[in-house]
């Protein structure tokens, strides 16, 4: 009995298309986002507040965009690496490109009281816990 095999050329074409889509999607780009999450984040607690610290050396303040909604914080921006006009590269370890990442914290954040500081290549976000989210102590009578 003859078996019904799928057209091998059709399969090849589909495979080629899938590869092309993957290649052109930007996932394999040379930007920092192509090498896993960027920037790396450390999250700390300070009393009731949350502090997010991240390393963004060489990223200018104006190239950073920080948004807060509910308990999600988005950190996006562009990192550019300039070597000057007449430079030829011998070795390149630093990456450049766009980045965009979001982090959800386990508490509701008061969006109006978020403070962001960027100094010496370190970005620190100070997030205050929303008043209505804070636990209330109940006195035992």
């Amino acid at each position: 009995m003859a078996m019904l095999l799928p057209d091998p050329f059709d399969a090849l074409v589909q495979f080629q298309q899938a590869l092309d889509a993957f290649r052109t999607s930007g996932w394999l780009g040379s930007g920092p986002s192509g090498r896993g999450a960027y920037p790396l984040l450390d999250v700390f607690r300070k009393g009731d507040d949350i502090v997010i610290i991240t390393e963004v050396p060489g990223v200018r303040k104006e190239d950073l965009e920080i948004q807060v909604k509910g308990n999600t914080i988005r950190i996006a921006g562009t990192k550019s690496v300039h070597y000057g006009e007449r430079a030829s590269l011998h070795r390149r370890e630093r990456m450049a490109g766009n980045f965009d990442r979001a982090i959800t914290v386990p508490v509701e954040v008061d969006a109006d009281r978020v403070r962001a500081e960027c100094r010496d290549g370190i970005l620190a976000l100070y997030l205050s816990r929303a008043e209505r989210d804070k636990p209330k102590s109940i006195a035992v009578s």
Binding site: L40, D42, F44, E55, P57, R94, D120, G121
Partner: protein
């Protein structure tokens, strides 16, 4: 030119030493800034930076410039006069 990233390091905490053709860069992070913070979730470890480079004698070791901007340290190493290309005129 050597450009390196040393986020979180202030100018006063960067040490650049040149000893027998080895350029050593050490940068220390001020841990005091992390005082009172309790880690909840960490993706990277905060620590000091150190790296050494072997310099060829084609560089003028007396002229090394260093500049720190926004966590990026740029070292400018000048080529020695003897290493510059020389034009030879036909007589």
């Amino acid at each position: 030119m050597v450009v390196m990233e040393i986020p979180g390091v202030e100018k006063k905490d960067v040490d650049i030493n040149l000893e027998s053709d080895t350029l050593r860069v050490e940068a220390r992070v001020d841990y005091g800034k992390y005082g009172g913070l309790e880690p909840l979730y960490t993706e990277y470890n905060v620590g000091h930076f150190a790296r050494a480079f072997a310099l060829s004698n084609k560089l003028d070791q007396a002229q090394i410039g260093a500049e720190l901007d926004n966590g990026v340290l740029t070292l400018t190493l000048k080529k020695a006069k003897e290493a510059m290309p020389r034009r030879i005129a036909i007589t």
